[in-house]
């Protein structure tokens, strides 16, 4: 469990990092928190010849601009737990972050690393999909934005091309009165989830104006459930039957089983978590009503 030999570059600034990534192309990998990449390298599942350390690049802002939060690639998971903008605008994300690993992992792991690692049940990729985030990638050729739903291509696969790195993520803020909730279950606290469900409800006068949902564990990438979102839209909060919607979620998904978790269980679990998340999002919204 020792990595193969590699060359370590500590990038001074973004241009330097992009130049290094351009120079070494497929042979290079950015390293940020190292919480996923280093274990992969030790197991020799990742074998980069060049590591471009992006820890000195800044990229650690959380800033509000034009109805969206711009979150830098280097923002560490634990930052969200105390950030007022996150608390105000992205309550589902705030809940989700509590489920990421353990304190040490949250202290080191970064947004860019989590999204680019793209574990199928990781929380931040799910939050990017839930909020319809846009992912900003940079290379020496310039910048481009990719919608979160197009960014994740499969388990541990993303749209990042050789020479590119993630620099920030734009999370559109839910509009008007809103509530959010996130539920997941792993065997032990801090484990990757067997299933998860997140929801954001935008509401006005006791009626849901718009809803977003995300489901982790149903597929190899986080997925939205448009049928559920459509069913929620126009519903009164008071009349929302969360458990029934949870059952409907079960009908919409067909997750895979593995040697630890049966497919049937995972399916029922996600439906149950959906019901609970919806119930809590509803209760939070109702409690916040004037």
């Amino acid at each position: 469990m020792r990595p193969k030999e590699f060359v370590y570059h500590r990038a001074r600034d973004l241009d330097h990092a992009l130049a290094l990534l351009a120079e070494h192309g497929e042979e290079a990998r950015p390293i940020s928190g190292g919480q996923s990449l280093v274990p992969m390298m030790n197991l020799r599942l990742a074998r980069p010849d060049h590591l471009v350390d992006v820890n000195d690049l800044g990229l650690d802002e959380i800033r509000e601009e034009a109805g969206a939060l711009h979150v830098g690639a280097m923002v560490r998971h634990e930052r969200y737990l105390t950030d007022p903008l996150i608390r105000r605008h992205l309550p589902a994300l705030l809940e989700a972050v509590h489920w990421i690993g353990h304190p040490t992992i949250r202290r080191n792991g970064t947004l860019g690393g989590s999204l680019c690692h793209a574990d199928p049940t990781a929380e931040l990729p799910a939050m990017a999909v839930l909020h319809g985030a846009r992912i900003v990638l940079a290379s020496t050729a310039g910048r481009r934005e990719v919608a979160a739903c197009d960014f994740f291509k499969g388990a541990y696969m993303t749209d990042v091309q050789p020479g590119e790195m993630l620099v920030s993520v734009i999370f559109p803020c839910p509009q008007g009165a809103h509530s959010g909730a996130f539920e997941e279950l792993g065997e032990r606290l801090g484990d990757f989830a067997m299933g998860s469900f997140g929801v954001v409800l935008e509401h006005e006068g006791g009626v849901i104006r718009r809803a977003a949902t995300v489901c982790g564990g149903a597929k190899m990438t986080p997925i939205r459930l448009p049928e559920i979102e459509a069913a929620l839209q126009g519903q009164t909060l008071a009349g929302l039957d969360a458990a029934a919607l949870g059952d409907r979620v079960t009908g919409l998904i067909a997750p895979a089983g593995d040697f630890q978790v049966s497919a049937e269980y995972r399916r029922a679990l996600i439906g149950e978590l959906a019901g609970r998340a919806l119930q809590r999002a509803r209760d939070i919204a109702l409690n916040a009503q004037p």
């Binding site: 030999e5 606290l189 801090g190 484990d191 630890q260 978790v261 269980y265």
Partner: protein, 779 residues
């Protein structure tokens, strides 16, 4: 002055080794860094079963700096041999590097030695093996199928051994039974996973012709003997040292092929050689454990008396027989202990060990007993459920009440607190039974209470091993004590301390006998410089090792008293030892420092009584009594299950235990709690999964799930103390007990909560959800 030292045995003494262990000053195997050392990396089989046609190392020839590589062709007949002397047992050896066939994923094929560990790992990737694939044997069914080719060419089938044990008249018991209850129970393959994996460093001094081997082992002397015999070296010219060992749990209680091979490589290359196991190797190719299936049939009278028990026990031992407990040990142990703490006199067990293409199955804390107790105690609950009795009342009706008790196999149980422990548990759990009832109809949640009542044969020694004809052969533990000129004491202990608190408890024992305070007593262990012993395992260190220290210390104390009597001009009978002094009983002012006594014995020998030989050292050994000494315990678990997610929460865990004389309550509680945590892992998560090709799927901590602090409740420990007359201090063993009860207690709690008989472990959320569903649908 009053020179009265408080009694050390039984005192809550903080562990003397902890400052070292907790401040990063311990010295583990990887801290042993001889100059000019070569680093060894094993190339391990990536297929489960194949003929090994060739190992191609040609790509290593031109590497700079140069590397050395050995394969099965280089090692002659060096192998691990572990055979139990049963006529039915099929014989097999494991070559130290595979020859002719590989039999599990992880089996060493080649050893690559390089200037540093990174280069060794790089080079190991360039070794290629050419295989002719064979069908892997990956299940018990396949192993039992006569049509399946045996793992070894000269074998007739894939059964290492199948034997029987019996006592009493089972026919009569069956005939008299009002109820016959038959169940099959299983325990999954898992093991003890120490924080520190295995590791070996060996250095050969050609001038002295002396081999020094450091190994993270629980049994240095056995490693030394095996190396001497296998490599043909005089045992006097080998020293084996176990430095601080970061967890053993029985898993490091075997002699490993890697230990022999690293020593051999050091001799071959003329340079020190170091091998540090990585986590992948550790999970894939160290030692696995459990993997039992038991079918039990109980014969019960109309009044709820257990009349007899029939057991059919199968254990998947994997590819090779491990030394020194062999492929027969695990299944034989299950058969031996299955009668447990209950009073019945008809028993018949068939036990068998199967060979499969999996990592060898060896000893892990509890050794077969967690599985046996799982089946035994699940069965007790299943019987109680079937005949409509309260599970505790049913146990109380059948529990052994008179001692010594001769069990159905002829083993003699010394006195314990079987009834008291059950009654105490019932009393402690009354509020939990009440809250369990309160959730009985809740559609989303159930609380359940379960117990496991068991005994553990501890302090077993030579008579037990002779009876079982195990390669271990012997079981005594020895210690040598030496008082230095300054009155400080060195104990050379034939045990190895890897978490048992032996550096503290042995000092306590010596202190009471010598009247020397523990801060002046140094316990050196894990080193073949100590008198020959078989190491630390099997809940024997306290009763037997403690006994040996006590006997040796008592002998020295007698001599110190005689010297002091002479110096004080007082009758020997009036001299007492305490607080580092010898004093005259009724005249505490008349004393002499023990340091002065020691100096008189070793340097100023002119002060000795006439004719007395110099020196203040003694050696003693204690072997296990004929049938060992039986500790007993009741474990109780209270679980809260979310029926809709399968999530189980442990609300409470209670242990009521009796290990005879308690040497140090803090150490006893620590041992119990640590064991319980491991047992919780056995019950809920830990599982080595193989696919149909024999590929291990759980080779990192991402997939092999161990208990973590948030999942563990406070573990309450209550004690009864029934000293045994069979060991010098009245102590029984307790190191393993904590790990024995949890699978049964938790499974019984789940059974209670869900109202469905649990038949196996691990009880993951997925499994629990399916159980709850089956129960709901009236399965």
């Amino acid at each position: 002055m009053k020179a009265e030292t408080p009694r050390q045995i039984g005192a809550r003494v903080l562990r003397l080794e902890d400052p070292r262990l907790l401040s990063g000053r311990a010295r583990y195997i990887d801290d042993i860094r001889p100059a000019n050392c070569l680093h060894l990396k094993f190339v391990r089989a990536q297929v489960a079963h194949a003929r090994l046609l060739d190992v191609d190392t040609s790509m290593l020839a031109d590497l700079e700096p140069a590397v050395t590589v050995f394969t099965g062709k280089d090692i002659g007949k060096l192998s691990m041999k572990s055979h139990q002397d049963y006529p039915e047992m099929q014989y097999a050896e494991q070559p130290l590097l595979a020859q002719g066939r590989v039999r599990f994923v992880g089996e060493p094929i080649a050893a690559v030695l390089a200037e540093d560990a990174y280069l060794a790992e790089d080079a190991a990737e360039m070794v290629f093996a050419d295989f002719d694939f064979l069908d892997p044997v990956t299940t018990m069914e396949q192993a039992l199928d006569p049509a399946v080719q045996p793992l070894f060419d000269h074998w007739k089938n894939n059964t290492w051994v199948e034997r029987q044990m019996k006592g009493g008249d089972l026919q009569a018991a069956r005939a008299a039974a009002a109820h016959v209850i038959r169940r099959t129970y299983t325990n999954q393959r898992h093991t003890g996973v120490p924080m520190e994996g295995r590791g070996v460093v060996a250095e050969y001094d050609p001038g002295q012709r002396f081999l020094t081997v450091w190994s993270s082992t629980q049994m240095p002397h056995l490693v030394r003997t095996y190396i001497a015999e296998e490599l043909g070296l005089p045992e006097s010219r080998i020293r084996v040292i176990a430095p601080d060992v970061g967890g053993g749990f029985g898993v490091k209680g075997q002699v490993f092929g890697e230990e022999v091979l690293v020593a051999w490589c050091a001799i071959q290359t003329g340079r020190p050689v170091k091998w540090i196991e990585d986590r992948r190797e550790n999970l894939m190719a160290s030692i696995h454990a459990r993997d039992h299936r038991h079918t039990l049939e109980a014969y019960v009278s109309a009044e709820g008396r257990l009349l007899g028990l029939k057991a059919d026990i199968t254990v998947d031992i994997g590819a090779y027989s491990t030394y020194p407990f062999s492929a027969a040990g695990e299944s034989g142990m299950a058969a031996k202990v299955m009668p447990g703490p209950y009073d019945f006199q008809a028993y018949e067990a068939t036990f068998r060990s199967l060979a499969t293409n999996k990592c060898p199955n060896g000893t892990y804390r509890g050794v077969a007993r967690p599985s046996a107790v799982f089946s035994q105690e699940r069965l007790m609950d299943d019987i109680a459920r079937e005949i409509g009795m309260d599970p505790i009342a049913f146990r109380l009706k059948n529990i052994i009440r008179t001692f010594p008790y001769r069990n159905v196999l002829g083993f003699s149980y010394d006195p314990g607190s079987y009834v008291e422990s059950l009654e105490k548990t019932r009393e402690l759990l009354a509020p939990d039974f009440a809250r369990a009832s309160a959730t009985a109809g809740d559609p989303n949640r159930r609380i359940g209470v379960g117990i496991a009542c068991f005994i553990e044969q501890t302090a077993h020694g030579t008579p037990d091993f002779t009876r079982r004809r195990v390669p271990i052969e012997t079981g005594y533990i020895a210690a040598r004590l030496e008082v230095m000129t300054d009155g400080h004491v060195l104990i050379d202990l034939g045990l190895q301390n890897h978490g048992q608190g032996l550096e503290t408890t042995m000092a306590q024992v010596a202190s009471d006998a010598l009247g020397i305070t523990p801060d002046r007593i140094y316990v050196r262990h894990g080193d073949t410089s100590a008198p020959y012993s078989v190491g630390t395992w099997g809940s024997r260190g306290g009763p037997l090792g403690g006994g040996a220290v006590h006997l040796a210390a008592t002998e020295i104390a007698g001599k110190m008293r005689a010297i002091a009597a002479h110096l004080l001009q007082a009758p020997v009978g009036s001299v007492q030892l305490g607080d580092n002094k010898a004093f005259v009983s009724d005249q505490p002012d008349r004393f002499v420092d023990l340091a002065y006594v020691a100096r008189s014995a070793l340097r100023n020998v002119d002060r000795l009584p006439e004719g007395m030989a110099p020196g203040l050292a003694a050696e003693a050994s204690v072997d296990g009594p004929k049938d060992g000494s039986y500790s007993n315990a009741v474990h109780a678990a209270v679980v809260d299950i979310d029926l809709r997610t399968g999530k189980l929460k442990l609300l409470r865990y209670v242990v009521v235990e009796d290990c005879g004389t308690i040497l140090n309550p803090l150490v006893v509680d620590g041992q119990v709690r640590g064991g319980v945590v491991q047992g919780i892992g056995s019950a809920l998560w830990e599982h080595f999964v193989y696919d149909a090709e024999g590929q291990p799927l759980t080779t990192s901590f991402a997939d092999y799930l161990m208990p973590q602090a948030p999942e563990i409740p406070m573990i309450e420990v209550h004690h009864f103390e029934t000293p045994t007359s069979l060991t010098p201090l009245g102590a029984k063993g307790l190191g393993e007990g904590g790990a024995i009860g949890p699978p049964a207690a938790i499974a019984n709690a789940v059974t209670h909560a869900l109202d469905i008989g649990v038949t196996g472990t691990p009880l993951t959320a997925s499994v629990l959800w399916h159980l709850a569903k089956t129960a709901r649908e009236g399965g």
